[in-house]
Amino acid sequence: MKKAAILLASLILSISLAQVKIGILSPLTGGAAGTGQAQKAGFELALEEINAAGGVLGEPLEILIEDTQANSDVALAAFEKLMTEDEVEFIGGGFSSGVTLGLIESFKTFQPVVSWIGGAVSGVGIDGFDGIEELVGEEPWFFHVHPWDYQNTAAANAFVASTGVGSVALLHEDSAFGGPGAATSERVIEEQGIDVVLNEAFKSTLTGGTGDFRAAISKAAASNADLLYWIGYDSDVVPMTSQIRELNFTPNYIFGTPPGWPSDYTEAPEAECVAGLIGFLPSLPTPEAKAFADAYEAMHGAAPDNYAAALAYAQLWSYADAINAAGSTDQAAVIEQLESLSFKSPMGEWSFGQSEISPHQGFGSEMWLVFQYQNGVREIVWPEDKATAPLASCN
């Protein structure tokens, strides 16, 4: 009897002191590897800091990063491995709306706590299409960190309206990222009294295109729009902006919203006056942004170029803080702590609140900044209260 009691006590103790494991799904290879590697770098920094500060529940935190390759089938297998073989209770990371949509049924089957960075396609306002927020937004275990598409477009469109232009040509890549975003943008921009004179799809280099956008740009040039607004991926930046110059298209403003920008692009001649939407820049005038950028550079030897690094960093810290505050890995207790959590992250205040459908939405349109390449520097030009330089016309 005594032996049994000791065994039981040891078992309980071993369970309570077990290392907390967080499963991460991230596209480490494949076409979205830039974002995945940035997430990984952010997680590594946060992990080092968390464990240096005492870990989680008194033990070093462990993260298990699985490569989704930005592919739904691969992501599904990786998620099910994390749930069945690794037996994690918390899922982080996340990128790509297509991948997220492919995971939702399995999320609902296993129901771990999911804090999800990517997957912006909400489905809100789009008839005949069920988006991520519509499908999973109300689940108590689902937390969405990145702004939804309507929040992205609200920020982008607020910037467009602030330029005072009369007409806009919209070029968008043709997958789940650019298509719904362009449809919402067209509607919102026209509601602001600005003419959308063209809404044209193109094949991104990330999804099988060769980077020849001349046909789409020629149509935009023929429309004589004041502002060219393009929605594409990081690898589209160089061909898009160089071909705009090559075709002698000179709108007042060139504004793009890829998830990230090539690291060496700042020095490219065609970068001058190109504006873009971004979630984080090391030049953001807050102590948290500077501390993160300094620590990131010390660990990885380069400044954080992709805002996914900052999101991943803050996401892991949020899990660590919530589990420590809950005092256990009990799902209900951790969810309660995540719901009430608030701290200053590199991008701004971190907390979860209500969006159109989800009660657990992290950042909204306030996260976004617009920068413009000016003389080889990325200057923040919008919103005004964070601006480091005024917006310059390309003409």
Binding site: T29, G36, Q37, D174, S218, P239, N248, P269
Partner: protein, 288 residues
């Protein structure tokens, strides 16, 4: 329809065909001479793009200059890969050959990911990348024009080698009848090695050009491999002479659809798949 827009579409299609031909001719060479379908062809292209990027970053080499370094480097890489793997599966079932080249492609892609990372890399300071000459309302880009001319020059040079030199005759002999070529004293394995290495070098040259036009990533070769397969099928498997015409047809068809159809740019891949379907069906009917 705006006539200027139409002319721009035709011009863009013609200029794009040069690069398509350069990438495809290497693939056709491997299929035509060695009889192997090389699924790693796009990765040779990608390695060429990254080498041009690295030469720029490390030594400030202009991409035009790096053509002279990348081509020999890819030639050596192709030769090494042939010697270490391809030569052992020449008599194996085609599926095994395809799996091997597919695996080589994945290894090269992941090596690139380890060395250069997943972020798009750009050769930033290329002053001529954005230059376009305006002629009658139509823009002729300096880079597409140069890429077209260089590609045509290289492809024409390859035709010359194949038709007029002893090496080319040997390649054609081996392609027609391996056993017969061997019986008359040709070193078949050496010719295969040269053909495979040359194929890799041609893909590498295409990669250098794409390093100027867009940002190399480990998957940059994928789209061009698809086009190259379509062009090779259109020209007839292994028919190197038909590559120029097939490239022009595919590039023009894509560009015109992209220009004339609303949202046409997103139909580019559908265009060349449609061409493959039509060609395969017509050829099957003729043979039947």
């Amino acid at each position: 329809m705006d006539l200027t827009l139409l002319l721009q579409g035709i011009l863009s299609g013609i200029l794009a065909s040069g690069l398509y031909a350069l990438v495809s001719v290497g693939l056709a060479l491997a299929i035509g001479v060695i009889g192997i379908v090389n699924f790693a062809h796009g990765e040779f292209f990608m390695v060429g793009a990254f080498l041009a990027y690295q030469l720029f970053i490390s030594f400030g080499f202009d991409p035009v200059l790096s053509l002279f370094f990348v081509a020999p480097a890819l030639f050596i890489l192709g030769a090494l890969i042939y010697r270490s793997s391809i030569q052992f599966v020449l008599k194996a079932p085609e599926l095994n050959q395809m799996l091997l080249t597919f695996g080589i492609g994945i290894i090269l892609q992941n090596l690139a990911l380890v060395i250069w990372g997943g972020d798009p890399r750009s050769i930033s300071n290329v002053p001529y990348r954005s230059i376009g000459y305006q002629v009658g309302g139509v823009s002729i880009g300096l880079v597409p024009l140069a890429s077209f001319l260089i590609s045509i020059f290289i492809v024409a040079g390859l035709y010359f080698v194949l038709l007029k030199t002893p090496l080319g005759r040997a390649m054609r002999a081996v392609a027609q009848n391996r056993t017969g070529a061997s019986l008359v004293g040709l070193e078949v394995n050496r010719i295969y090695l040269l053909a495979f290495a040359l194929s890799a070098a041609l893909a590498g040259l295409g990669g250098v050009m794409i390093a100027v036009i867009q940002s190399p990533t480990p998957v940059v070769g994928f789209a061009f491999t698809l086009k190259a397969f379509a062009i090779v099928v259109l020209a007839g498997l292994g028919n190197i002479r038909g590559i120029l015409g097939a490239s022009l047809l595919v590039a023009l068809a894509e560009s015109l659809v992209a220009t004339l159809v609303p949202d046409g740019d997103s139909l580019r891949n559908a265009v060349f798949f449609a061409i493959i379907f039509v060609v395969l069906i017509v050829r099957s009917r003729r043979q039947a």
